[in-house]
Assembly symmetry: C2
Homo-oligomer: 147 residues x 2
């Protein structure tokens, strides 16, 4: 896949977030993590991708389509409260050095992705994990009913 | 909706199970229970509809398209091990008197349904509820990825 084909239709300087999301969801799936897009957290923020591993591990991935998208998001540390592992996912033209070291890093295109830097693991408290898993399950089921 | 229009395309004597499932899923949704079709349980059986309530209550509904469908199913009590409440869902032409008293009863058509008899509540053990909720969540997310 060329960089050009990953570009957003409206602005070639930024990446197509949906394409990155698709590639990242496939990577997660290959890792045994079943993810859903646009999962609204109890704090009101919406995670671009939220995934559940076979043992209940919760992973959140925030897609960044370009440097501006990252710079205007000051609240990404909020995600740490709602997952065991947190990743940014970007294309290979994103200047990854600006992304904080304490987050995982996924480099994606529309067809797949790879983990470039693992995320530190910060385990959720059991009660929060339980509440989030139920929320995830009900959310995914509701979404499925609509399609 | 007429009885005829609920009949299966291949055999007018039996009901269209998918239509009943749709009507029943709507009822559950109206009750705040988010359901998914064809949920495979750890025992290997596949529940026609499995739903999750806002507090994590697990409901299983078995659709019966006709009396033969019920008579050939000797294993329905197995479902009791995997839910808090269990219902049969049938159309209004099904002879509901044959259905066991210790199960809930839903009468459905393609557009909606009603609870005719509530199910007794038999609460799952916490560890099993946790495992089932995770299974449900991952299953729904995987299904969503495919659509």
């Amino acid at each position: 896949m060329t960089r050009a084909s990953l570009a957003s239709a409206t602005n070639p300087a930024i990446d197509d977030a949906h394409a990155l999301m698709r590639g990242t969801a496939r990577l997660l799936y290959d890792l045994g993590i079943n993810a859903i897009p646009e999962f609204t957290l109890p704090c009101g923020r919406r995670a671009d991708l939220a995934g559940l591993g076979p043992k209940g591990e919760i992973v959140i991935v925030e897609i960044k389509s370009g440097i501006a998208d990252f710079r205007t998001d000051q609240k990404w540390p909020d995600y740490f409260d709602w997952c065991d592992r947190f990743f940014f996912a970007v294309s290979d033209r994103f200047p990854a050095a600006v992304l904080p070291e304490q987050t995982g890093l996924i480099v994606a295109d529309a067809f797949g992705a790879g983990i470039v830097r693992e995320s530190p693991v910060d385990k959720l408290a059991p009660a929060r994990r339980k509440a989030l898993t139920l929320r995830f399950a009900r959310h995914a089921a509701e979404r499925l009913l609509r399609v």
